[in-house]
């Protein structure tokens, strides 16, 4: 007998997501993904000055703020055919690179690891054996016995006080937890170290962007960072070298802890290479422009239909007509008035909430399509595209990770294993390492360009009369993001954001084809319908981000021991 389970809200994600599954004989047979939040930013932007749009648009979210700011200025710049000074490109690239590294570290350790790592089990590990294991895996300085023992002692003390806090939403002792106590302890040690490194790399975003979350240094036409190597009020050489130090410190953590951790998780959970593939149409865009016109990109992108690598179509420019002409959104199953498939330029956003109905409308998220089909976006599609495009750093990290997993698992694990829940997680870590490599490239390019005497960071935009249309693409941490703007006489006439989690979390489209979250869940095992950890593993592997902070009500009630009423 099929049984329906609902997870609402899914925690350890950003935003509010509801997942419904039909489970039969320990397997998911059908699934529905529903965004439970309404996003009205498009309506807020209508009639405003296009130069201000990015400041509003990045308020879509409190986590992936930078990416919306970036896509928004690019959309307006595309509409005006504006060239961007080289320095501005490199500064922007460093911001999105650092933001991406930060996002991937936080997702891998803080948001996703606890689906696979049993913290309670870590307290029973042999700390000496853990240190020996860690030192066998890499030269990471944080794998010393002293460090590991200290973490274990702190964990024991913490759990002893009865406040699992940070780890409260984990499924401890679940039969699907497979790591040995020692591997759990090693991962827990890196989990806590990751807090320090995510902070370091976010400092890069804050220095360049003046503030984070919600950077302040963008402008349509460039950036507002004045470049003057000698004036202390500006982006000085001293600040740039501080940034370089931060980048280098985080690099050691990524290479020696994060990449080896993901190989270990991949090897111990090898059966998860069989689940969670879902929609195999992979879409990504090139990013990190290296010239003023935006024709040359440091990171390639492309489209892979049906997971067939022989049909890989490179996308070499963010201005590729293939992108503009083939992206549509469907609202057949979304709480908007009507039933259409339209280009984002032509869309309207008229909410029409009709209640949750599995067969009709059940989500605030629209269903985007590429060439009429749902597509998966994110680090996995991007890494596969970069790999197929022959991007050297990507190839290096993919091959090394697969070799690492193969060695630990004692079997050969190849590229096809990436089409899975665990593959999606591995691809995110690989992309983190690729982004980190690119950060160094961007930093050097900026230093070299300043060294040539070029200090320009801004080309002023001019808005002609009449209508212009533009799209800003960005390969964000959760995948391909696009902002679509229609400008009329210098004011915004229409605006649409087609965000990565819309692509992945979208409901069924106009032809009732399942969205990527939904498709990835079908066939997923569920050992215990009361504790659907396996469903969360697959959903978390996408790094869900459903925009904007909301409230969660925790039903647990334990008395506060000492309170003073004023």
């Amino acid at each position: 007998m099929a049984r329906k389970i609902t997870i609402d809200p899914v925690t350890r994600i950003e935003g509010h997501l509801r997942i419904d599954c039909e489970v039969d004989n320990g397997k998911v047979t059908n699934a529905w993904s529903s965004g439970q939040m309404w996003r009205g930013i498009e309506i807020i932007l209508k009639g405003r000055d296009p130069r201000d749009a990015w400041a509003y648009a990045q308020r879509i979210c409190g986590v992936c703020t930078t990416v919306h700011a970036m896509a928004s200025v690019r959309a307006v710049e595309d509409a005006l055919k504006l060239e961007i000074p080289l320095n501005a490109q490199f500064i922007r690239n460093m911001i999105v690179g650092a933001h991406g590294v930060h996002d991937h570290i936080v997702h891998f350790y803080q948001l996703c690891a606890l689906d696979w790592v049993d913290i309670v089990s870590a307290t029973t590990a042999d700390a000496k054996a853990t240190a020996i294991l860690g030192q066998k895996l890499s030269d990471w300085k944080g794998n010393s016995y002293q460090e590991i023992k200290a973490v274990q002692d702190r964990l024991k003390k913490f759990i002893g006080t009865g406040q699992l806090g940070i780890f409260a939403s984990g499924y401890w002792g679940h039969p699907a937890m497979k790591l040995s106590p020692e591997v759990n302890l090693l991962a827990a040690t890196h989990y806590l170290q990751a807090l320090e490194y995510q902070r370091k790399i976010n400092t890069v975003v804050a220095i360049l962007g003046s503030k984070t979350p919600h950077i302040q240094n963008l402008a349509v036409g460039g950036v507002t960072n004045p470049l003057n190597p000698d004036s202390p009020a500006n982006l000085t050489i001293e600040k740039l070298f501080h940034i370089k130090t931060l980048i280098d410190e985080v690099g050691d953590f990524i290479h020696q802890a994060m990449l080896t951790d993901v190989a270990a998780v991949g090897a111990y959970y090898a059966e998860w290479t069989k689940y969670g593939a879902g929609v195999l149409n992979y879409l990504s865009v090139p990013d990190m422009p290296m010239d003023t016109k935006g024709k040359v990109f440091a990171l390639p992108g492309g489209y892979i239909p049906g997971g067939d690598i022989t049909k890989f179509t490179p996308i070499t420019s963010q201005k590729d007509k293939m992108l503009y002409d083939n992206i549509k959104e469907s609202i057949k199953h979304s709480w908007y008035n009507g039933n259409w498939d339209r280009s984002p330029y032509e869309e309207e956003t008229v909410p029409d909430y009709t209640g949750y109905d599995y067969d009709k409308k059940y989500s605030w998220v629209k269903a985007p399509t590429f060439m009429g089909k749902p597509a998966q976006v994110g680090p996995l599609p991007h890494v596969v595209a970069m790999y197929l495009a022959g991007h050297a750093p990507t190839k290096k990290y993919v091959d090394a990770t697969l070799q690492g997993v193969s060695a630990l698992a004692g079997t050969t694990v190849g590229i096809p294993a990436l089409h899975s829940t665990i593959g999606r997680i591995a691809a995110r870590v690989i992309r983190c390492a690729v982004l980190h490599d690119t950060l160094n490239v961007q930093w050097q390019a900026l230093i070299d360009n300043i060294g040539k005497g070029d200090l320009n960071t801004f080309n002023a935009p001019v808005f002609p009369a009449g209508e212009q249309r533009g799209t800003g693409f960005h390969e964000a941490p959760r995948g391909m993001l696009s902002h679509w703007v229609v400008i009329e006489n210098g004011k915004i006439k229409n605006y649409q954001a087609v965000v990565p989690s819309t692509w992945n979390a979208g409901p069924r489209n106009g032809e009732d084809a399942l969205g990527p979250y939904e498709a990835s869940l079908v066939g997923n095992p569920v050992a215990d319908a009361e504790l659907p950890l396996e469903v969360l593993r697959t959903i978390h592997s996408f790094d869900p981000c459903l925009a904007c902070a909301i409230h969660l009500v925790d039903g647990k009630k334990t008395p506060i021991t000492k309170v003073k009423v004023l």
């Binding site: 702190r154 406040q163 806590l192 902070a549 647990k556 334990t558 000492k562 309170v563 003073k564």
Partner: protein, 170 residues
């Protein structure tokens, strides 16, 4: 520019301005910084709905004062003060109105050993937690109590807190 190490105390309001009384923490720090001049050694921050970003602010402070809506089945507007090790427990037990809750942030601070020497939480019982801007009169009244208590506490710690002579709302 004030170096981070010169800041000894942090007054941190957290909450979501868009969910009625849930925004009381943010509105309290806003009113506090408008009505009073705080010394450079005291940082007054609207933490909004941030999560781990708050860790670096808490790090190596002498005094941290948190202000948040705290559902505790009391009369709306009731203000409670919780201190030290009881603060994380208070958050654990109750509403976690933010995505990665302050409870997670405090747990991480404990596990990475960056907890402040003195930690105080002023929690206020919310009445209205629906989408919408503004506080209910009960919570507004509670907010005034918190402002007085925080000023007293900062002065007790030895910080010079000067009144600006502004009481009006805007």
């Amino acid at each position: 520019m004030i170096e981070n190490s010169d800041v000894k105390a942090l007054v941190l309001g957290i909450g979501n301005l868009l969910i009625g009384d849930e925004g009381v923490g943010c509105l309290t720090v806003e009113a506090l910084s408008r009505r009073y001049t705080l010394p450079p050694s005291v940082e007054c921050v609207d933490g909004g709905t941030a999560g781990f970003e708050l860790l670096s602010m808490i790090d190596s402070k002498e005094h941290v004062i948190l202000i948040d809506a705290l559902r505790n089945d009391m009369e709306p507007g009731t203000v409670v003060m919780v201190e030290g090790e009881h603060v994380p427990k208070a958050f654990m037990a109750r509403t976690t109105p933010h995505q990665l809750g302050i409870c997670d942030v405090l747990a991480a601070a404990q596990l990475t050993e960056i907890m402040p020497k003195h930690l105080t939480l002023y929690g206020i019982e919310p009445k209205q937690m629906e989408v919408g801007i503004g506080l209910t009169p009960e919570v507004q009244a509670g907010m005034e109590k918190i402002i007085c208590a925080v000023v007293d506490q900062l002065r007790h710690y030895g910080y010079e807190v000067k009144h600006n002579g502004i009481e009006s709302e805007h």
